[in-house]
Symmetry: C2
Subunit: 309 residues, 2 copies
């Protein structure tokens, strides 16, 4: 594609997914940003419009700008882009808001290249934007945003991502209580040392999760979606976490946990009604406690960023 203007959808994403701290992530269908790209003769990224959130218009202060410029420079592009960013994903919600902008920028620019980059290369440049937001280059949100589906970051040296088999039949609920958790704070609350037994349990859970997708073993899938290392510490940052988890269990949902570093929570179920009930009851709980909350019902997005116009 080499048209002068395109519009894309960039999905929200859930990282960590209980057993896969700093490794797993999946993309959502029900919520995402839109971005519009126009090819320009002027080199570099120019942000022309941002709606939905108050974010820097200066390219070097904006994750989309940083990611886009990193890529344009790396491929020695003889053109530039104007970008409009229409945010639907709230900043600081924990469902990959900055990642969607970073991933969207590189995905959008890729549409204008004669030799498009592959998903791994795109992820690498998107991480440059992600670093502006979070302080370090990590791929657990940008990878699923670009690849779609569920991704496993196997390591950074060498940098590798595995697109795991689809979990098409899963329904997702997202709850975003309106509190602020800084990524730094969420990191600081983690212990430096953990029991060896928990470390072993976690490695078995993540390996089981991966095997469960390849085998599509629903029982193992459910059993593996637990977290011995991180959630027990971070959940105290999220009011009513245990009550909401209890609501998810009561409604036969199969997994519940913190999305990324929070405050959003994700919930998985094999039946849409279970998610609807989980969301309804949990929203009521937060409202009755005087807290604002957003909720989203979604399927898994199998495609990642895509052109929509």
């Amino acid at each position: 594609m080499n048209s002068k203007s395109i519009k894309i959808f960039c999905p929200a994403t859930v990282a960590n997914v209980n057993c896969g701290f700093d490794a797993l992530g999946f993309a959502l269908e029900g919520i995402g940003d839109e971005m519009v790209f126009r090819k320009t003769k002027t080199k570099g990224v120019t942000i022309t419009k941002i709606t939905g959130e108050k974010l820097p218009m200066e390219a070097h202060e904006n994750v989309a700008g940083v990611a886009g410029n990193a890529m344009l420079e790396a491929v020695s592009a003889d053109f530039g882009v104007e970008i409009e960013i229409h945010k639907k994903i709230r900043s600081g919600s924990g469902i990959g808001s900055s990642s969607a902008s970073a991933a969207g920028a590189v995905f959008g620019i890729n549409q204008f290249l004669e030799n498009p980059l592959n998903n791994l290369e795109l992820t690498r440049y998107a991480m440059k934007g992600e670093a502006l937001a979070s302080g370090n280059e990590h791929a657990d949100n940008v990878a699923p945003c670009i690849y779609g589906g569920t991704t496993l970051v196997t390591g950074y040296d060498p940098f590798k991502i595995i697109a795991l088999p689809p979990m098409d039949t899963v329904y997702v609920g997202i709850l975003h209580p309106h509190i602020t958790i800084k990524t730094k704070e969420a990191r600081a609350i983690l212990p430096k040392q953990v029991p060896l037994a928990d470390a072993i349990a976690q490695s078995q859970s993540l390996a089981s999760f991966v095997a469960s997708l390849y085998e599509w073993d629903k029982e193992l899938f459910q059993e593996s979606l637990k977290d011995a290392l991180v959630t027990p510490h971070r959940k105290q940052l999220i009011p009513h976490f245990d009550e909401v988890k209890h609501i998810s269990e009561k409604n036969s949902c199969i997994a519940h946990g913190i999305s990324g570093s929070g405050p959003s929570m994700f919930c998985l179920a094999f039946a849409e009604a279970d998610i609807e009930n989980y969301l309804t009851e949990s929203v009521a709980l937060y409202i009755s406690n005087g807290l604002k909350v957003d909720s989203y019902s979604s399927r898994i997005n199998g495609e990642g960023c895509r052109v929509i116009g």
Copy 2:
């Protein structure tokens, strides 16, 4: 099968496999015990002969006896078995000697049942024998001995084993330096607490290993076969470990580590010559240092225990 006498092969096994402490194991083709079973009217297990190792003949003191009796009782068998055990796997070598006897016992008895048990049930009874040898019921050796190939113990509650995709093209070298490491000592040397970063790295390695088998991604397979948690501590129990590891790397082998709790080491390569060179040089190293060592070259056993007569 319901004949009165059968002979079986029960393979040696490598557990842990670097990234999969207490979870992974694979079966060897090149070394294993033989056992002969005769159906008797007398109930229970009678050990009639043991060659190759000095082991208890009393059923309740012998892993094969304990495992076999646990199974015969559980299925309310109206018969018993006489068992001859011909050990080729040295006790205390770290390549599943007691597991082979325990797994062989239940596999052999299963041949006489009208409603044979499945592999998971067999593993469960074999673990009863394993517990006699090691003090606790674990499946990381008995599972690959029964299933063959490479197995992942995903957990004990619920107890589940995944037979992973084959790694048929891999060559294995085993080195057994003649030193004694008690399983208890190998456990005691492990730290109670480990760095969170190492725990995360380990979970990514084990998950990557599993994904690499399903994708048969040779690069990822090699990258994943490392150990952040256990080997750094246990290797000090094995003289010349680092030198032998260096020999494996120099010969283009793809992984090297401790088999189970040692003292045997395993080495993997994609070419048979690499394993031969690794074994030759490592054996020479031990001999020049005045230590006895056994060495074995093997393929992966894809079948587990099997009837051979």
